[in-house]
Symmetry: D2
Subunit: 97 residues, 4 copies
Amino acid sequence: MNVIVDLCVVPMGVGVSVGKYVAECQRVLEEAGLEHQLHAYGTNIEGEWDEVFAAIKQCHERVHAMGAPRITTSIKVGTRTDRTQTMQDKVASVRKK
Amino acid sequence: MNVIVDLCVVPMGVGVSVGKYVAECQRVLEEAGLEHQLHAYGTNIEGEWDEVFAAIKQCHERVHAMGAPRITTSIKVGTRTDRTQTMQDKVASVRKK
Amino acid sequence: MNVIVDLCVVPMGVGVSVGKYVAECQRVLEEAGLEHQLHAYGTNIEGEWDEVFAAIKQCHERVHAMGAPRITTSIKVGTRTDRTQTMQDKVASVRKK
Amino acid sequence: MNVIVDLCVVPMGVGVSVGKYVAECQRVLEEAGLEHQLHAYGTNIEGEWDEVFAAIKQCHERVHAMGAPRITTSIKVGTRTDRTQTMQDKVASVRKK
C-alpha cells in the first residue's frame, strides 16, 4: 500500500530551537531512500506504508538518542485504491485548477 | 517504545456519513487488544509502537475493503524516555492543576 | 457557523512538563463558556466559529504570557451544512454501530 | 501576533477528487494577500493571526457554497515571542544543518 505522508516531529524539553532534530529526521529519510520534500511546517514523504512508518519510528529513536526526553509528532497519511498519485500529482492537480 | 496516539481516520468518496467506517476501526483496535478511548474527533490509543501502527495500517486496509477509495488520516504520536505515562495520567495531570 | 474542534496546544522551550499550560487553556475555555471535553491528546470544543477561534487565540496569548516563548498548536475543525451535530452525537453515532 | 500556519481542508460528501475545492482555497488566500505556499499535503500560510484565521473561515464558507456538505480541516499554528521567523527561515534553518 503506497502512502503520501506529512510528518512534523516536535521534540519537547530541549529548548526553543529544534532545527537540528528536524535535520536529523531528514537524514533518516535520505538514508531510507524515501522520496521527501521539506516545507515550512513539516515534510512530505512518499513510499510503501511499512518503509515510511519504519523511518518515522527511527526519527523518534534518533531524536530521543540526541537527548530529547519527549516527542510529539503529527502525521497525515493518505492512501487510495482508485489510482496511483504522487506528491507532484497532488500539487499539479490543484495548480491546474 | 510505548506510545500514546490520537487517531482520526477520514474516508473520502463515500458520502457524508462515515460512522460505520470509524466503528470498524474501533473493532480493529479491540481485536488488537489495544487500550483505546473514542472521543468526538478521534480515538486515543496506548501501546507498543509496532502494535499500534500495525493496527492503524489495518484500519486503512479494512476501510478500503469496505469500499472507501480514498482515506486521509491524522495521527498524533507521543513518546517519552523520562518516564512512563498513560492516557489517564495525562488527563489527571491537567485536571489536578 | 457551528464548529466541532479538536485542540492540542504544545508550548515549547519550557521543559518537558506542560500540564499547567494545558490547564490554563481549560480555564480560557471555561471563561468563554464553551462546551469542551478534555481527552488524553487534546480537547474537543463545540461552538460558534468566531467564539471558538477567539478562545484559541487567547490560549496562545495566555500561554505566551506564562513564559512560553514558542507554541505549536494542532487544530481540527469540522463544519457541516447538511445537519447540526454535537460532540455527543458523533460519539453516539459510532458507538451505535 | 504573527503566525505560521499549515492548512489542510478536506471536503467530505463530494466524491474522491477534491482538487477544485483546494484550488478555491488558494484563491481565498491570494485575495486576502497572504503569503502562502502549496505543498503535497496542505498549504503553509504566514501573516497576522486575525487575517489568517479570517481567510481560513472564508475557505470553509466558500467550499460549503460550492456544494460540500461537510468539511474537516487540519490546522497547525506556530507562534513565538522570542524572535520573528518566516516560513523561509524555518526551511533554511533545517537545510543549513
